[in-house]
């Protein structure tokens, strides 16, 4: 009892430490230590019958987890987290399955109910996370896949699961294994149908939600085996997932239901994924971008204009988007910012909470490129400064800077707080193409006379830009 309490306390301590960037790493280690102790305690209390199987399964899973975590790059983090989440869901529903199938006389009604719920939540988390991971890794089409009557199918599956759950719970004898198996299949189906229709910029909400359900599945699993540690560990996960789900919805000014039911996503044909999401559409920068802006009397190469704009600006705000992640351009972006700062300019990064494919994704990418933490600014902090900003550099972002969100009503992004980059005196946009972002809403910013469009791969564009800025600022690296 006391040991359990100490372990739970360490875990909470870890979560508490996590609140401050300086202590976060220690917090993570504390949580890991808590779980390691829990593992030791459980093994000590109830010795296993098959040590060879247990140890090799532990080693195999652990080593695989380690190996993957060392290799994965930061752009792939969302896919990785979703995959791990799925693995957790798999373990949770397997444990519930076996415990229920054993039909111990000890199993109470509560435990049985928890077990059935854990089985359903775990299995749906498993399949939902795998679909999400596939989408994020580019193995499954990223745009939402919507069946006709998708909502009815979803609700129907859920209803059948509810009824079948009762059947499986009240059943007895060898038939239970079969009814449980059917329940697993139905739940896996539910997870697939559920997450298939969510895509693109809604992925952060989906991942956060699945994070919460995996915690719930673990806690429910703890109720059936009457293990406090499992319950106590599942709870903060459920809490964290819920909070992040709420934050992400708030950042988009959308309700959870709207994201899950996807009512708003019909504005444009599904083919038009984010401007930055369509690698096939890459065009040579000069050809498409020679549309003369009204300010320039002669047709001028936008690239030359951009170089001048960057040189002339005293204050610069960089707005990164998922396109930066896709182009792996975070290093060039940060290098540009560093060089400009070294040349005496004020440089800030404006990070929109939903930029990227999971909460905080942009921050991880910029951290990977060793960004100066003092340059990072949140949306509320930076927005009042845009009117006095000489130059906003947009790197692979579309919807989060789309003025239509504020000016036009009735679009999927209407009402979403945006980075008010359009208020800056001049803009340089390094996007792959002029296609609308994930929401399908055209971005009037592209046609704005103060915008200099540098279409094409952001990594290449920024590389060229850096190259051309060299003479004036000297090598600042």
């Amino acid at each position: 009892m006391l040991t359990d309490f100490a372990i739970i306390f360490t875990l909470i301590l870890g979560v508490w430490l996590f609140g401050r960037p300086r202590n976060a790493r220690l917090g993570n280690l504390a949580a890991a230590a808590a779980l390691l102790c829990a593992l030791g305690v459980v093994l000590y209390r109830s010795p296993v019958t098959e040590p060879v199987i247990v140890v090799s399964a532990l080693a195999l899973g652990g080593l695989a987890g380690w190996a993957v975590s060392v290799r994965v790059n930061m752009t792939q983090i969302p896919a990785m987290v979703a995959f791990q989440n799925g693995a957790g869901g798999l373990a949770a529903f397997l444990v519930s399955f076996v415990e229920l199938a054993r039909q111990d006389a000890l199993v109470t009604t509560t435990a049985k109910t928890a077990g059935i719920l854990g089985l359903v939540v775990g299995a749906a988390t498993f399949s939902g996370s795998m679909i999400a991971s596939g989408k994020l890794a580019g193995l499954v089409r990223q745009t939402p896949i919507v069946f006709s009557k998708h909502g009815s199918i979803l609700l129907g599956t859920a209803a059948v699961i509810a009824i079948w759950g009762v059947v499986a719970a009240t059943g007895a004898g060898p038939a239970v294994v079969w009814s449980l198996s059917i329940l697993v299949v139905l739940s896996v189906l539910l997870g697939i149908v559920f997450s298939m229709r969510i895509g693109g910029a809604d992925m952060p909400v989906l991942i956060s939600f699945l994070n919460a359900t995996s915690g719930l599945a673990a806690a429910l699993c703890g109720i059936i085996i009457q293990n406090r540690l499992l319950i106590a560990c599942g709870a903060p996960v459920a809490a964290s997932g819920s909070i992040l789900t709420y934050f992400m919805c708030k950042a988009m000014n959308r309700r959870l239901i709207a994201v899950f039911v996807g009512i708003q996503m019909q504005a444009k044909p599904l083919g038009s994924e984010s401007a930055e999401d369509a690698p096939s559409a890459s065009e040579p920068a000069s050809e498409t971008a020679t549309v003369p802006t009204s300010e320039t009397p002669r047709q001028q190469d936008p690239f030359v204009q951009a170089v001048e704009a960057v040189r002339g600006a005293d204050s610069v705000v960089v707005v990164p988007g998922y396109g930066m992640a896709l182009a792996h351009a975070q290093f060039e972006t940060v290098r540009l910012a560093d060089r400009l700062q070294a040349a005496g300019k004020t440089v800030k990064f404006a990070v929109h909470p939903i930029a990227g494919r999971m909460p905080g994704h942009m921050h991880v990418l910029l951290a990977e490129a060793e960004v100066d933490p003092d340059m990072l600014a949140e949306i509320d902090e930076i927005n009042p400064h845009f009117p006095s900003t000489d130059l906003a550099v947009i790197v692979g972002a579309c919807d989060v800077v789309n003025p239509a969100a504020i000016e036009v009503s009735g679009t999927p992004i209407s009402g979403m707080p945006i980075m008010e980059a359009p208020n800056a005196k001049q803009l340089v946009v390094c996007n792959l193409d002029e296609k609308p972002g994930y929401s399908g809403v055209d971005n009037p910013l592209y046609a704005d006379p103060k915008t200099i469009l540098l279409l094409g791969d952001a990594k290449a564009t920024l590389g060229r830009l850096l190259e051309n800025l060299k003479p004036e600022t000297q090598s600042a690296e």
Partner: protein, 96 residues
């Protein structure tokens, strides 16, 4: 029945404490936060280990081994990747 109440209250109390603490985590740590909590949900490995505390058939052993392996994958991978990310966060900028 009291056992049920105890379990429920453990869940509710830890959930609430977690909620209070986690809502203060700054947005720039949200990805590592999710990655860490994700690792914590690998706690199901305990449940999977307990499946082996009594004698059982081949099917249960197979499912149990699969559960242990995937939970361990989640657990180790999650903490390791969180640590890697946080290490990056800690790194100071190169001297410009």
């Amino acid at each position: 029945m009291p056992e049920v109440l105890l379990m429920l209250s453990v869940f509710v109390i830890v959930f609430l404490i977690g909620y209070l603490l986690i809502s203060k985590v700054p947005p720039r740590l949200h990805t590592p936060l999710m990655s860490m909590t994700n690792a914590i949900s690998g706690v199901t490995v305990l449940g999977a280990l307990l499946l082996f505390s009594v004698e059982s058939g081949t099917l249960v052993k197979g499912l149990g081994a699969l559960a242990i392996a995937s939970a361990a994958f989640n657990l180790v991978g999650g903490f390791a990747i969180t640590n890697r990310m946080l290490k990056m966060f800690k790194k100071r900028k190169r001297s410009a």
